[in-house]
């Protein structure tokens, strides 16, 4: 009994249920993705699914196409989001928090509903629903993920460094590129990771935005994984996506984790 009390009063053990839970529902499922990818429908070991992927030109095409869309969207978000974050952080707004919150508020509206509304807006304006709509919609959905981390780092930045640079003779251009940009890099990294990863794996949004005319990798995975016979092949596709995610988060890891830029 006293031992039991001791175990409970050692607060380290309080994390055990969580660790167990995570092992069961996070680690094991990820291992299962690999397991399903390496087996056929009867559970026997096979590499056939991987061979099928590399011979499946449609899947390969879709994969690179989604990668391209994701990269393009990330660049677009950065181009539009960085100035916005910069202005919000530098401008002396009476209520900077309200401005920041205004950019985040739309995220409380269901993202699918916003997507449908975007489609309707395009219809009303008479614009075609193609790649343009896809990029607009994706950028629109993920822009806050880019603005917020950058805004956070810029706001925490020590402005006296900028003043020091200017006192030492740097012009505005120099002090921006040599002081502000390097200091905001952690936020930029985490913004890139936070936009790129959901974009590359997006599935329903692309489907709604283009009336199912453009297929992204996420939709392809969804198609295969929900078909019972092709579940193992779907697992291969998920594994490919998982590798991309792993690589991205590895690159973003150094800075993104510390700065985090969590949205609330």
């Amino acid at each position: 009994m006293s031992k039991l009390v001791q175990i409970f009063s050692s607060r380290r053990t309080w994390a055990w249920p969580y660790v167990l839970f995570m092992l069961l529902f996070v680690v094991l499922p990820l291992i299962l993705v690999g397991y399903y990818a390496l087996t056929d429908i009867n559970g026997a070991f096979t590499l056939h699914n991987f061979a099928k992927f590399f011979g499946h030109s449609e899947a390969i095409h879709t994969f690179f196409y989604s990668l391209m869309i994701a990269l393009f969207n990330t660049a677009l978000c950065l181009l539009i989001g960085y100035p916005a974050a910069y202005i919000m952080a530098m401008e002396d707004f009476k209520t900077p928090k309200v401005m920041a919150m205004l950019f985040i508020l739309p995220m409380w509206i269901n993202c699918l509903l916003r997507t449908v509304a975007t489609v309707e807006l395009f219809n009303i304006l008479g614009l075609p629903l193609g790649e343009g709509a896809l990029l607009f919609g994706l950028c629109y959905d993920y822009l806050p993920f880019m603005i917020y981390p950058i805004y956070n780092t810029l706001q925490k930045m020590d402005t006296s460094l900028v003043e020091a640079a200017q006192d030492l003779g740097a012009n505005r251009w120099q002090s921006f590129w040599k002081v502000i940009v390097p200091l905001s890099m952690p936020g930029v990294y985490s913004g890139i990771v936070m936009v790129f990863m959901p974009t590359v794996s997006t599935f329903a949004i692309a489907e709604l935005l283009t009336h199912n005319n453009i297929k992204l990798f996420g939709s392809l995975i969804q198609d295969y994984i929900t078909t019972t016979d092709l579940l193992n092949y779907g697992a291969v596709l998920s594994l490919v996506l998982l590798v991309i995610i792993g690589v991205t988060s590895f690159f973003g890891d150094n800075d993104a984790k510390e700065e985090g830029g969590g949205l609330v």
Partner: protein, 447 residues
């Protein structure tokens, strides 16, 4: 610096507009072959008045592929005809006209076969006989944007060139003074305009929802006069039964997930905080995995787990899945509170004779509750907003949350109208909450 941004963005808009302009509209004409094939497997799916073509178009790579693929969906799935509605139309001669948007100069698909369901529910087979010339879509709006952006860029460029030259004529002292003045609290209307324009774009689809929540038209974008009927329907439960149950399930799942993840996450945070560095690193990594994983991966991996375990998917699996991706955020919002609090108070309570449970309740909780509360609220919003994970773990038992309900609704071709007032109310509540929080913060700062 801001000038450079403004110019970059104007150029960006120009490029985007020019690029969007290159998305031309093509019209394919599909003519009847004379040979009519009648299939009888699906006799009575549609009413006699309604004509549907069940043709689904798949274009995997719009940029590179030269030919389009038709995938003929012979089963009249309820959701599929809606995709066609806006894409197909009929010419006066009774031909099928299929409109697609492509970046290509020419479209080759003569000889393609298309199935059409006629007014009596039978299928007829058509062959593409002609492709008409490219038509410009309603491109004027893009030209307008591009023109405006170009004019803006030019004006701004002139201003900068002129301004710079004028500056160089000044003495160094005057230049310095000018710079100091600029460094001061001058308001930059140009850059504020940028922010407001961005907000305008971001809020325009939402405004569309809000405005059209005050008319009872079934279709978004069709104003049929002011009416509060949708609000009345929503509150009196006269809305679609599917919507009502979706709202209920969304709330139930969010509450269960938030409560479970708050308890689990708080205990875990206390545990992690007291761990040694190495253990702590491992658990923190484990904690970050669900946050890094995108929805689809979390959803699919859990789906595979439930398949492997032979669990039937439904409310329980969705709740588990939501706890999985909510808890890490709770842990992260409780941990900072722990590092702020005096670590000895808990032990002092134990020394003074409190049981661990009492010490937790009377010493730890009062210190931790702000972190727990924000974790709880975060978990609620994450759970309500989630689509990807729910989609893969809800099973096929008819369980729908708001997100999946909207998705299947949108695939059928139209939103349930009562969704508009629902989300307008949510937006307003959030806005009011934001304003209240802000006013409070300001007051606190003044104190």
């Amino acid at each position: 610096m801001r000038r450079v941004f403004v110019i970059c963005d104007l150029l960006l808009v120009t490029c985007l507009s020019a690029w969007a302009q290159s998305n031309l509209t093509y019209t394919l004409k599909v003519g009847a072959t004379g040979e009519t094939k009648v299939l009888t497997e699906f006799p009575e799916v549609y009413s006699a008045e309604k004509v549907n073509i069940n043709v689904q178009c798949t274009m995997y790579d719009v940029q590179r592929r030269d030919s389009l693929d038709f995938v003929f969906v012979n089963e009249p799935v309820a959701g599929l005809d809606a995709w066609g509605d806006s894409v197909y139309s009929y010419t006066d001669e009774g031909d099928v006209r299929w409109t697609v948007w492509r970046n290509h100069k020419e479209v080759k698909n003569r000889g393609q076969r298309v199935l059409r369901q006629n007014a009596y529910g039978a299928f007829e087979e058509y062959v593409v006989t002609a492709t008409s010339k490219a038509q410009r879509g309603k491109g004027w709006i893009w030209w307008l944007f591009a023109g405006l952006a170009l004019v803006g860029t030019a004006m701004y460029g002139c201003y900068i060139l002129y301004g710079r030259r004028k500056e160089k004529e000044l003495s160094s002292v005057e230049q310095e003074m000018l710079r100091r003045k600029r460094m001061g609290n001058r308001r930059h209307y140009g850059s504020q305009l940028y922010l407001w324009l961005l907000l305008l774009v971001i809020y325009s689809p939402i405004a569309l929802i809000a405005v059209f929540s005050f008319t009872k038209s079934k279709i978004l974008g069709n104003w049929t006069g002011f009416s509060m009927e949708l609000y009345a329907n929503l509150f009196s439960g006269r809305a679609d039964a599917g919507l009502n149950s979706a709202i209920m399930y969304t709330l139930i799942i969010a509450l269960i997930a938030a409560v479970c993840s708050t308890i689990l996450g708080t205990l875990a945070a206390i545990g992690i905080y007291n761990m040694r560095a190495r253990q702590r690193k491992v658990v923190s990594f484990l904690n970050s995995v669900p946050m890094i994983n995108p929805d689809i991966i979390t959803g699919i991996s859990l789906f595979l787990l439930f398949v492997a375990l032979g669990m039937s998917q439904g409310l329980a699996t969705v709740c588990i899945a939501h706890v999985v991706f909510c808890t890490p955020y709770v842990v992260l919002s409780v941990l900072p509170r722990l590092s702020k609090m005096n670590p000895n108070t808990y032990e002092a309570a134990l020394d003074l004779g409190a049981t661990p449970a009492q010490a937790l309740r009377m010493v730890m909780l009062p210190e931790l509750w702000p972190g727990m509360l924000s974790g709880f609220i975060l978990a609620l919003t994450l759970s309500v907003d989630d689509f990807g994970v729910t989609f893969f773990t809800k099973g096929s038992g008819g369980l729908e949350t708001l997100s999946t309900f909207i998705y299947s609704d949108a695939r059928k071709g139209g939103l349930t109208p009562e969704l508009r007032p629902l989300f307008t109310i949510i937006l307003l509540v959030m806005l009011v909450g934001l304003i209240i929080i802000n006013i409070r913060n300001n007051k606190n700062e003044e104190k």
